[in-house]
Symmetry: C3
Subunit: 341 residues, 3 copies
Amino acid sequence: MTKTNAGRFFEDYAVGDVITHAVPRTIQMGERALYHALYPARHALHSADTFAQSCGLPFSPLDDLVTFHTVFGKTVPDVSLNAVANLGYAEGRWETPLWPGDTITATSEVIGVKQNSNGKSGVVWVRTTGRNQHGAVLLSYVRWVMVRKRGDGPAPQTVIPDLSGSVAATDLVIPRGLDFTNYDFALAGEPHRMSDYKVGDIIDHVDGVTVEEAEHMLATRLWQNTAKVHFDATNRPDGKRLIYGGHVISLARALSFNGLANAQLIVALNGGAHANPCFAGDTVRAWSEVLNTAETTAPGIGAIRLRLVATKGTAGELRDDDGKYLPDVLLDLDYWALMPL
Amino acid sequence: MTKTNAGRFFEDYAVGDVITHAVPRTIQMGERALYHALYPARHALHSADTFAQSCGLPFSPLDDLVTFHTVFGKTVPDVSLNAVANLGYAEGRWETPLWPGDTITATSEVIGVKQNSNGKSGVVWVRTTGRNQHGAVLLSYVRWVMVRKRGDGPAPQTVIPDLSGSVAATDLVIPRGLDFTNYDFALAGEPHRMSDYKVGDIIDHVDGVTVEEAEHMLATRLWQNTAKVHFDATNRPDGKRLIYGGHVISLARALSFNGLANAQLIVALNGGAHANPCFAGDTVRAWSEVLNTAETTAPGIGAIRLRLVATKGTAGELRDDDGKYLPDVLLDLDYWALMPL
Amino acid sequence: MTKTNAGRFFEDYAVGDVITHAVPRTIQMGERALYHALYPARHALHSADTFAQSCGLPFSPLDDLVTFHTVFGKTVPDVSLNAVANLGYAEGRWETPLWPGDTITATSEVIGVKQNSNGKSGVVWVRTTGRNQHGAVLLSYVRWVMVRKRGDGPAPQTVIPDLSGSVAATDLVIPRGLDFTNYDFALAGEPHRMSDYKVGDIIDHVDGVTVEEAEHMLATRLWQNTAKVHFDATNRPDGKRLIYGGHVISLARALSFNGLANAQLIVALNGGAHANPCFAGDTVRAWSEVLNTAETTAPGIGAIRLRLVATKGTAGELRDDDGKYLPDVLLDLDYWALMPL
């Protein structure tokens, strides 16, 4: 009898199942410093207690993507150990900031299953919820993955969840106390407020970062993400390790400071595709497209919906004539952020 | 007159000498985060304050190997700067958990010397003790190394310490308050309790991690270990740096989560050999063998004695027909851990 | 209209202008741990709260160079984005220690401009001041850089600031409470007090560290220094990234522990030149020359003025017969440190 975790196969997911993911994790100041070492992150609200306090918060919360990565990492042994592909995200909402000292736990509910026609694999949809030590929801999101079947039993009844294409602006949760009335644009790094951005604007974030094996492995381990493709060079003839898609998300988001310095907090993840794999040696660049803007009920705070693209190629270029992602495109992410009106 | 430290030679050790190692070190949340970035560590007691609290501790202690590495690093300038080989460990006991904010100091007593027959070097045994800022013993262990002689003076009287082959289960120190009565196996990551393990069981920990130069140097510097072979590429024609043996210990211990997730705390080091050197580019795997189990007087807590092997090869394979370590074997470590009964 | 920062050109600096640098930064225990992972730093006052307390401080301050790097990083988008060369430093003084939890902001006053005879660029002098969240000055220093001109307008009136060749010993600021009367030389790592050092002494710090791309990028990002030459491999045909000069400063300063373990705090930067660029794969060594010593009014505390040289070559060798830096020399730094009398 083996003692190790072989991961779940398609047959092991039934709609309605709730999976408690193992190994809660306390996040502290150390993770914050590492986030700044791993990514060129400069958004002021995540950089300085004083800036966060001038915006009504008690002190600077961890980067919103620290919550995402930690929760995601918890799910890997139960959701994606035998996954063939990470197919999509939807309905992601950050509901509570992550403060230093908080402990994160995560659960996932199976909300959809659909066997593929080849009978060898199927798609599983889960709604994952990360909570802090008080039970408050930090983040919830839907993810769907293609998972191998163990055997050749009958297909389960197909259940495809009804997912919205984007989180409604009225459903965004604004952190308690957040107030951009006295927002200091000079300290934040750019003068642009929400009204300066128009739907359809394309912003080239200019800078590029070349990724090293050591960096993405440090990051992925930090989130306790154990998927072996990220760490074991013997998995591929060229010895390269597949870079965790979330590493590319954080790189692109950090690069987007240059042009979107005032898009301070991520509050929703509407969707996302890891268009092509990323490997060490790639130089990652980023560009954004403004998809929407909305007011909120919070003082001085607007919401901006952005497409964030990580690419090895040219800003503004996304798909070929057949609608397929260009080979240089690494990430196409759709999210809402908060910005001073 | 040079101001720099040339290290001690064999003649500089006399049985009974006590060496105060320099540079005390305060360990904080940052070291904890770095430990998780450097090693795929997931044992729940070291990951989450809430889990540690459910086991009777005030919050999550630093990984036990942080104590080991920091104490070991302190000894390097005094013990192993002119060492030819690190020969063995014995009688290691962790006596107090390391909490964030603690300051570590270390001393070593010379307990044995034996000149080699070639007259060029000798073996030195030291018992090293690491203490916290309150003077409490965090860890003590015996290490013996082969050290070069400076000159050709007479041999000192041979003193070989009488070392036990393993720490007796009754001598293990259980952290005050630790209680596994309400242990949460789901959050810990595996269902196996001590009674599920039998002496002789071999556990293949499955995963592999390919090591990069940047990673092992970050780790080794973090422990203020200054041995130049770990940092200076000009020491070898191929430019590779010899990886600190303790880096391999931490990698293997972290990998052992998969199959030994409930072996929560290391409480004794019975022995260990760095069987072959490890270099960047090596993919490190791990397997364990159950050597013994024992009850303790603490509530719900058993002790499991494990052989932990780090290897570039196959689980279960250790020595050739002549009893020599196979060339793929990196580490053969013998330790006691605490596990729910 | 672009939303991104194209940086300032020579025409954009006028003497008397004060630039508020963006993105304040809170520094915590995580940055401290990373500093120890990135550099072989062992000075006891920055390593242990207990040692700092035995010297009259409340606990261990961050390394003085953390203050320098963070302040410097803040200035990059406003001062050196279009810089052709970093020409020099002067009149640097640390006035307040950096404690964990402090938030750093920075401003720079333009104190000199001089157009080059080619009309394509010019030299800009700025006095940069870093402050903590209470408004106290942490560090101020003068830096001058060569910056490209945007157009071909007329030259501004030349203003060259009158800079002193070194900070006077009487102008050094000793941290409040610092007292070396009961200094523990054994714990600090070396027995040498200030009177053991003579002007003209050359100290070879012996050890070498080979630098990896991942390491210098982690460091440079940690200081939120965004200069693209440090991160983007497509900037050079060989794919190497130019290493931030400050990374070399920290490496050399950390290596100088071996021979200058009691030069505990940097209190002034008299001058410095990045003599040649440093790239990944270089093995950095360091040597120091004693330039001066002075008493201070603080108990048991002397000041030692040191030349710190980082080199890929031989200790003691600095310039060729024409007075040019040898090609192996990376850094020539002139600073004051505090040392027990």
